[in-house]
């Protein structure tokens, strides 16, 4: 009797809470902080420094969204997630947004009921080999032992690649990137395969990086981007256009250094619309007029964020490649702010 009353009370509380949490934006603003599902540690993309301050390429997206919504890039609670817990954390409402180098696929978008709000990094799976192996193309890897992280899409891509090229391989299953580095260095496998950005970071950590080469073949498409729950399109719009604002800012030359100057008004109407001195874009999104300006001021435009965290001046040293602006032959293309 008592039990059923208790359960009944829980159910009622559930309905009340359920209807109250429909609008993520209201929740975030009421809470005063953004809950961002992040990687518990991926070089260049998300990592806490010695003081526990999170930094990285994915982290910068969270900070930009927090700046746009709350006006404060530091108002983010980072919730470290693993590949296994990330989707439930988002689905259950434990986090408001997931920015965790997550590949945009049909099943995740449709079946898991998430909305991907863009691509902040176009990645692809590659191979690293010791130069001593004398291999210059992945197609020469016939009969090679391959270190591969289990339970990821990279495992399936690897099988597909070797089957289509009609060559054989022997998988060496490993659990984490750190383990893979050790196994690879110890010679337990001829080659290690994972996302090219991860390979670059791995190679940078070696004692003699020059002894290892990343093969030219990229065997899969891994568009990584932020995602939110299905069913709250207003919130998805905010995340999508914050990311677009960062990309557009680079295209129009808005940087963290000249943003104050540009915000006083320019003769380029698109810049004015982005920075909120013209039009009512912020109001349409349910935000302040200068939302995009704050987002850009948080960590700079897309190009600045890239350069600071994973670009060629960092130990990871990734080239822009596919992630260059569309004008420079890349895929980063922000729809018009109009």
């Amino acid at each position: 009797m008592k039990k059923s009353v208790f359960l009944g009370a829980l159910t009622v509380a559930g309905f009340v809470a359920g209807s109250a949490s429909a609008a993520t934006l209201d929740d975030v603003q009421a809470r005063g902080s953004l809950k961002c599902g992040s990687n518990s540690g991926l070089t260049g993309f998300a990592a806490p420094d010695a003081n526990g301050h999170w930094e990285g390429f994915d982290v910068a997206v969270c900070r930009a969204v927090a700046a746009a919504v709350l006006g404060d890039p530091e108002a983010v609670e980072f919730v470290p997630t693993t590949p296994k817990t990330r989707f439930t954390a988002l689905a259950s409402g434990e986090v408001d947004i997931l920015v965790r180098n997550t590949t945009w696929t049909l099943t995740r978008d449709v079946d898991l009921k998430f909305t991907f709000t863009g691509v902040n990094y176009y990645d692809g799976q590659g191979f690293i080999v010791p130069k001593a192996l004398g291999v210059s193309s992945a197609k020469e890897l016939d009969g090679a032992t391959v270190c591969i992280q289990t339970g990821t899409t990279t495992e399936l891509n690897l099988a597909d690649f070797f089957r289509t090229n009609n060559i054989s391989y022997e998988p060496v299953p490993i659990e984490t990137n750190a383990e893979a580095q050790q196994q690879y260095l110890a010679g337990a496998c001829d080659t290690y395969t994972t996302d090219a950005s991860g390979l670059a970071a791995t190679r940078a950590s070696f004692e003699n990086p020059a002894d290892h080469a990343i093969l030219p073949e990229i065997i899969s498409k891994e568009p990584l981007g932020p995602l939110v729950r299905h069913g709250d399109d207003e919130w998805a719009d905010i995340v999508r256009w914050t990311l677009n604002a960062l990309v557009a800012a680079e295209e129009f030359g808005i940087t963290s250094t000249n943003i104050e100057e540009l915000a006083s008004g320019t003769d380029n109407p698109e810049i004015n619309r982005i920075l909120g001195t013209e039009g009512t874009m912020g109001e349409m999104l349910g935000l302040e007029a200068d939302w995009a300006m704050k987002a850009i001021a948080a960590g700079g435009n897309y190009g600045e964020i890239f350069e600071k965290n994973i670009g060629e001046s960092t130990p990871i040293g990734l080239a822009r490649g596919l992630n260059a602006q569309w004008k420079d032959g890349g895929l980063q293309y922000a729809p018009p702010f109009r």
Partner: protein
């Protein structure tokens, strides 16, 4: 008469034993070189130990405490021209606080430290009940409610109200026992604190805090991490699971059918499921079952699961102790006219628990080490933090130094527990062997 026999009238002075039987040489002869075969084995073993140490010690002996990154370490080591390479301790210098405290705010770290010290003060009268006055047990009782408050912060009223829960239950039991009978009032006495905690403590504490604001800064669970998190989960789970375990063990032996089968069902279910499964249930499944928007603290969920897991094992260990008691002990208790609880308290449990000490302690040590599994569900315990630290471009590629440091921390804790249990066994040994 002439006495031909010779009788010694004075004792010979004591002489030193031969040099080959005592001292270093004697010990060596006795233990290491007591035959040609043993001598060969000794030489081989010594050679092996030398080879291992010759490889490890130069690696350990590495003046890299000031290095700011792995490449800086490598430069220092290259300058020294070390053959086996060297450890890179810069990462420990830079991150030891993070490995110990996680992201707990720096200016508030006195709180976990104070809790840790308080833990020993609270444990002293329990663990060494002959050395410390019994009155310290009052502090132990208060510490149960103070420790979570110190760790998580918030208004002082919350722990006071939580402590009031059992008191309410006790009062209710006193008044109801004559009205609705023993069993019903026990059930009510258990339900009242639980309902009180679930529904009243939060609002009441806020209301009082609105009138008399008195409290310390709140620290959220996601900031907990490092070795502190392991110890915190471990200590809470150990303390509660011992109590639960005793209850379950008694329940399993009970004559009350429902109690018995509930206990058996619980124990067998929990023992049949791996801890990692329970942790996944805690981290992901519970989220889906609960109404959206409810915020059930992840560390609390993990603590509950770890506690349930350990209590099932403790129950079985204690059941072993109960089963080892001779039947006569139970009969003697009955013959003295003791009721069930008195018999358990005075005769059965003191003996059963004494027998179970090694098993209990090894379960605790296992539980403490199992807390590192929480890294799999994304909590940043020391093992989880190694991944985060390696994600820093400066330290990417560091493995042994971090794991070695963590191993040292765990070894110290587990070894102390094991030593304590041996001491306790010796102290409690009252039989004659």
């Amino acid at each position: 008469m002439e006495d031909l026999s010779y009788v010694r009238t004075d004792m010979l002075p004591e002489r030193d034993p031969p040099a080959s039987e005592v001292g270093v040489i004697g010990w060596l002869r006795m233990n290491l070189f007591s035959g040609w075969f043993n001598s060969i084995l000794t030489v081989i073993a010594l050679a092996f130990i030398y080879l291992v140490l010759a490889a490890i010690i130069p690696w350990l002996w590495s003046p890299t405490w000031g290095a700011g990154s792995l490449s800086a370490c490598r430069e220092i080591i290259a300058e020294l021209g070390k053959e086996h390479g060297g450890a890179c301790y810069g990462v420990i210098t830079e991150r030891w606080q993070q490995l110990l405290f996680g992201f707990y705010p720096e200016e508030l770290r006195w709180r976990p430290i104070l809790t840790f010290i308080g833990l020993f003060v609270a444990l002293a009268p329990v663990l060494f009940n002959e050395t410390f006055p019994g009155k310290m047990l009052w502090f132990t009782g208060a510490f149960l409610f103070l420790a979570p408050w110190l760790m998580w912060g918030g208004p002082i009223w919350t722990p006071l109200l939580v402590a009031a829960g059992p008191a309410l239950g006790f009062v209710a039991y006193r008044y109801l026992v004559s009205v609705i009978g023993n069993l019903a009032s026990v059930i009510v006495a258990v339900l009242i604190p639980v309902l009180f905690w679930l529904f009243l403590v939060g609002p009441l504490s806020q209301a009082i805090d609105g009138v008399v604001p008195l409290g310390i800064e709140v620290v959220e669970s996601r900031l907990f991490g490092g070795f502190m998190l392991s110890v915190w989960i471990g200590v809470v789970a150990i303390a509660i699971s011992l109590v639960l375990g005793v209850i379950l063990a008694l329940g399993r032996q009970s004559d009350l059918l429902i109690v018995k089968y509930l206990s058996v069902g619980f124990i067998e279910f929990i023992r049949g499921v791996p801890l990692i499964t329970l942790l996944f249930v805690a981290s992901t499944l519970l989220n889906i079952f609960m109404p959206p928007g409810t915020n059930f603290d992840i560390i609390l969920r993990v603590m509950i699961m770890a506690t349930l897991f350990a209590s099932a094992y403790i129950a079985e260990v204690i059941r072993g102790g109960l089963a080892a008691l001779p039947r006569g002990q139970y009969e003697a208790a009955d013959a003295l006219g003791l009721d069930y609880w008195k018999a358990q308290r005075l005769i059965i449990l003191p003996q059963a628990l004494k027998i179970s000490i090694p098993g209990i302690v090894s379960t605790f040590i296992g539980l403490f080490k199992d807390t590192t599994l929480v890294s799999i569900i994304g909590l940043l315990d020391p093992i989880g933090l190694t991944g985060s630290i390696r994600a820093d471009a400066n330290w990417n590629g560091i493995v042994w130094e971090l794991y070695g440091f963590i191993a040292l921390l765990f070894f110290i804790s587990c070894f102390s527990m094991s030593r304590y249990s041996m001491w306790l066994e010796k102290k409690l040994r009252t039989d004659h062997r």
